[in-house]
């Protein structure tokens, strides 16, 4: 029944009436209030919206980091909301690459070793050095995170995410902590991964300008999707005016 839901291999994620409530003390915060949308395979998607609009919650749920309060999430033909903890772990391990705003590199490992941390547990990874090359970091591969700039650390984080050849790349404010020049280098790395490997890429940002490079822009407000814009002619990252 679920298989016949119009799902096919060209849809990476589908959500139906997705809600998420956080209970803090005596108040309930409704982070998501019924999000229904499809994310096509291979797209570069940008999620835009003010703080607290539910973008990160949405990203965390489709990435298997968090579970919804109600509603459904499908990854390709599978219903993610049915997954056990163990299945979610395997889903993240084999299908999802994360890039976090705070980079979250292991400080006691070198750049290359941080990538190896992920390739160690992947089925068919890129050689770590190749992932480093993809983000132009091969010369800094043996540096520790504390010896790298913010942009360099974020590129290592992207290399770490793409090294497992994920189906999807989920990036929460990847340029949030970076200046425009470094930000463009990071975005270019993301664009290249999207184009070269056909990885479905979802990027959360505050920066509306970044939306210009996306195939699809989804606007969030108050826990709901308020608008979806399909961009037929995405620009190159270099052309983005910050």
């Amino acid at each position: 029944m679920i298989e016949n839901n119009g799902l096919n291999d060209n849809i990476t994620f589908r959500t139906e009436a997705l809600t998420k409530d956080y209970i803090t003390g005596e108040t309930v915060v409704q982070a998501l209030r019924g999000v229904t949308l499809d994310i096509p395979k291979g797209d570069m998607v940008v999620l835009l919206g003010p703080s607290g609009s539910g973008k990160s919650t949405f990203l965390n749920i489709i990435g298997g980091l968090d579970s919804p309060t109600s509603g459904e999430v499908y990854f390709k033909k599978d219903r993610l909301s049915d997954y056990s903890e163990q299945q979610l772990t395997l889903f993240r391990r084999h299908n999802v690459g994360f890039v976090f705003q705070a980079y979250n590199l292991v400080p006691s490992l070198t750049a290359l070793e941080n990538v190896a941390l992920v390739t160690d547990i992947s089925l068919d990874p890129l050689p770590p050095m190749e992932a480093m090359k993809a983000v132009n970091m091969e010369n800094r591969a043996h540096h520790f995170p504390s010896q790298l700039s913010g942009g360099e650390q974020q590129r290592v984080a992207i290399a770490r995410a793409l090294a497992k050849r994920p189906e999807v790349l989920l990036c929460d404010e990847p340029t949030g902590a970076l200046d425009s020049e470094t930000g463009i280098v990071v975005l270019k790395a993301l664009r290249d991964v999207n184009k070269d490997y056909g990885t479905t890429t979802i990027i959360i940002t505050h920066n509306a300008a970044i939306a210009d490079m996306a195939d699809r822009v989804i606007y969030f407000a108050d826990g709901q999707v308020v608008n979806i814009k399909v961009n037929d002619n995405p620009c190159a990252p270099e052309e983005i005016v910050w």
Partner: protein, 788 residues
């Protein structure tokens, strides 16, 4: 697979090596005390059991006046008796050239032409006595060692009034004299008491005991009833002046050995269990917090696809490295210290072989216990981090709900600086953590008090025993009861300042089905030298009517003041009396009963007689006095109380104090380890916050104030907690150290409390200094960027 994760493990461990070292130290201390104490106790027990078994230590003993050999057959016919050995045992005085004071000894017969069936001798050196050999003796190793006697040396002793010079042909050990105590002595004194063996026929001739014996040893069949055998033996020996037969558990040496072992077992159980428990608790707390600092990394590992199991294994590996190193260090230290401690026991336990060994169970238990504590601590922390959705774990912990603290709400706010408010709100924000830290520091302090109290208690015991109760310089014991006029002769001896009479009589005390062999000591109603003390340890009058029992003896007999006890006198006419308990008195050593001397003599139907005297002496006259005493054959024993005190200090005190010293060092290390770790973790938890404050313009001093302010409050709260728990442990220990031989007063010196506070404060100061050096290195810029 997972090579990168293993690299992370090694580098993370190296990064927090200081803290890991502290945890390893705490753990090693816990394990070492455990292995040492149990090992010493087990080694002694094992040595004793093997010795008793191989050298046929007897099961039942009896002394009598004199019985012909034929009686031996009668004894053998008692049901349940499988072997009987009869002997002649005779008390002698020994004259050693370079010693002013006299020594006493026991001379025991050895059957001619065969090895004894029971209480066989271990030959350390030389040879056994030949059949009918004249003028040759075997000498107990302890006495020979104390005087430096070797084979071929001659000892002169007074046997039955005749002075004889005898040659040592062998140095031996006997299972009957593992712990050798001279008559009337409180502690073993190998210089002043020795045991010797000689050919039966030679000894019989020397003491006019031809064809007769005065000492019986029996081995009973397995499963036979000891009480019945004792009864039957008493019946057989009664016509021959037999004293009440007694079993192994009342045999002097064995009773002392057993008591020592009991004490050791209590000490070896109580202290290490407390140490191990405290160490495990601390490891648990510290590990929980250590892993908790890695919460963000745990979140990230989960986000990129590591499972909870893989993450747990990763951190458990870290813990196991600590556990493995801690165990190795602990076991090595425990074995080394245990071997040393066991060796010290050879000073007062005369075993042929005393070798340190410890059971695998003890080792496995202590290691597992610590491992479990560390693993549980780790799993708790991982559990806390892993139950969070990874997205949340990766965010810095959301600011907890701060509120105005209790103190502020009480209106004391205006007295608090903003910095102090940060400090106390932090303390109140996490009550559980504050409580655990306080408890941790408190516990480490309490084991210090616990370790130190032993010395206080023994010092106090000695003060009570020698400054308040037995204030005489010398106690004399006579071979037979003498008329009271003998006191006048003693008073006239050189240097004697004061003399008080003593009348000691061996008795069996009974109440209902409880019975105890002891002696009643008759003293003057208001003595000045050998006094009795009431429950508040004040000198008490000897009751005009009835008995004064020591509290332990009253406990053993289950009697209270006013109850009647049956007194079976074990001498001469052996009357059986009923006497009321008039007073319960306090005594830390032994099981004694006291009575007014005149009243005691009346009960015994005797005139005014004495069996000994307490003497106060002018120390300048010691030499001439001792010389005089040596010349009087009627004086069987002389105990120099000052010497007894010295021996106690040397032998028991020293051994015990070495154990105390080890425990104190361990407790100090644990205390430092805990405080350092708490401070170090506080720094890693709050490094970013402190860096922000530095950026805002706070000086290093102010930042340190915030960091150490919290710790200081915890330590201040921990001090009363530690004092309280420490005292509770002392009470528990005093209660479990309550043996028949020896009670340990729950006495803690102010100095002990002071010292434990000082150790904690010093540990804090040192920890603060070490952490302070790291505060100085906080990189303001990178801390702000969020690089860890």
């Amino acid at each position: 697979m997972m090579e990168a994760l293993n690299k992370k493990l090694v580098r993370d461990l190296w990064n927090i090596k200081g803290q890991m070292l502290a945890i390893i130290m705490v753990m090693a201390c816990g394990i070492a005390t455990f292995i040492m104490s149990f090992g010493v106790s087990d080694s002694l027990t094992l040595s004793r059991d093997v010795y008793y078994d191989r050298y046929q230590f007897a099961d039942v003993f009896a002394q009598l006046k004199r019985a012909p050999y034929g009686v031996r057959q009668q004894i053998l016919e008692i049901p349940g008796v499988s072997a009987v050995e009869v002997r002649v045992v005779f008390g002698v005085t020994i004259q050693v050239d370079n010693m002013v004071e006299p020594a006493s000894g026991k001379l025991i017969s050895l059957p001619d032409g065969r090895t004894p069936l029971l209480n066989n001798l271990y030959l350390r050196s030389g040879r056994m006595i030949l059949p009918d050999e004249q003028g040759a003796i075997l000498c107990s190793e302890a006495f020979a060692t104390a005087h430096g006697f070797t084979l071929g040396d001659r000892i002169s002793m007074v046997i039955n009034g005749h002075k004889r010079s005898l040659s040592i042909v062998g140095i031996v050990l006997s299972p009957e004299y593992v712990y050798s105590l001279g008559p009337g002595a409180m502690f073993p004194d190998d210089k002043r008491f020795g045991v010797f063996w000689m050919s039966q026929r030679s000894l019989e001739a020397a003491v006019d005991m031809n064809g007769a014996f005065n000492d019986v040893a029996i081995r009973q069949d397995r499963g036979s009833n000891t009480a019945v055998i004792k009864q039957e033996l008493d019946i057989v020996l009664k016509p021959y002046g037999g004293l009440v037969a007694y079993a192994r558990d009342e045999q002097m040496s064995n009773w002392f050995v057993q008591n020592e072992l009991d004490q050791l077992r209590v000490m070896g159980l109580f202290a290490p269990v407390i140490f191990l428990a405290v160490a495990a608790f601390l490891i648990n707390v510290v590990m929980t917090r250590q892993v908790a600092t890695q919460r963000v990394q745990i979140g990230m590992l989960k986000a990129v696809g590591y499972s909870n199991g893989e993450i747990s294994r990763h951190y458990l590996k870290m813990v196991l490295m600590v556990v493995v190193v801690g165990s190795i260090v602990g076991i090595a230290a425990g074995v080394w210290l245990g071997a040393g401690m066991t060796n010290m026991y050879t000073d007062f336990f005369h075993f042929p072989i005393l070798q340190f060994s410890f059971s695998a169970e003890v080792m496995i238990f202590s290691v597992l216990f610590c491992t479990l504590a560390a693993v549980i601590g780790t799993l708790i922390a991982i559990g806390q981090a892993a139950t969070l959705p990874p997205a949340e774990a990766m965010r810095p912990e959301s600011p907890l709900q701060f509120r105005r603290t209790l103190l502020e709400r009480m209106g004391l706010e205006k007295y608090f600086s903003p910095l102090f408010r940060i400090v106390i709100r932090h303390v109140e924000r996490r009550p559980v953590r504050t409580l655990l830290s306080t408890l941790g520091v408190g516990l480490s302090m309490s084991i210090l008090i616990f370790a130190l109290f032993m010395e206080d208690s023994i010092t106090y015991l000695m003060e009570v025993q020698f400054d308040m109760a037995q204030r005489q310089d010398l106690s004399l014991g006579f071979t037979h009861p003498r008329a009271i006029s003998a006191l006048e002769e003693i008073r006239l001896m050189p240097g004697v300042i004061k003399v008080e009479p003593l009348r000691r009589v061996a008795v069996l005390l009974k109440s209902e089905h409880y019975a105890k062999r002891s002696s009643i000591l008759g003293i003057r109603p208001n003595p000045d030298l050998h006094r009795i003390l009431d429950r508040d340890l004040r000198a008490a009058r000897v009751p005009a009517q009835g008995l004064a029992l020591s509290s332990k003896l009253a406990e053993v007999l289950h009697v209270r003041r006013g109850d009647l006890v049956t007194v079976e006198v074990l001498e001469d006419r052996r009357p059986i009396l009923k006497i009321r308990v008039a007073e319960i008195v306090e005594e830390f050593i032994g099981l004694n009963a006291f009575m007014d001397i005149d009243q005691l003599n009346r009960h015994l139907n005797e005139g005014p007689v004495i069996t000994g005297a307490s003497i106060m002496v002018d120390p300048l006259w010691n030499g001439p006095l001792y010389q005089k005493i040596k010349e009087i054959p009627a004086i069987a024993s002389m105990n120099i109380l000052r010497k007894a005190r010295e021996i106690f200090r040397e032998v028991m005190g020293e051994n015990l104090l070495k154990m105390v010293a080890i425990n104190v060092v361990f407790a100090s290390l644990i205390s430092f380890g805990v405080i350092y770790n708490t401070a170090r973790i506080a720094l890693s938890e709050r490094g970013r916050e402190l860096a922000s404050l530095r950026v805002l313009g706070l000086t290093r001093g102010e930042v340190a104030y915030i960091l150490f302010g919290e710790m200081t409050i915890i330590i201040l709260m921990a001090i009363p907690v530690g004092l309280f728990i420490g005292y509770m442990m002392v009470l528990g220990m005093a209660q479990s150290m309550d043996t028949e031989l020896f009670r340990l007063p729950a006495m803690v010196d102010k100095d002990t409390y002071g010292l434990s506070v000082i150790v904690v404060v010093l540990s804090a100061v040192l920890s603060f200094y070490l952490v302070w050096r790291q505060v100085e290195n906080i990189d303001l810029v990178s801390a702000q960027k969020g690089v860890e």
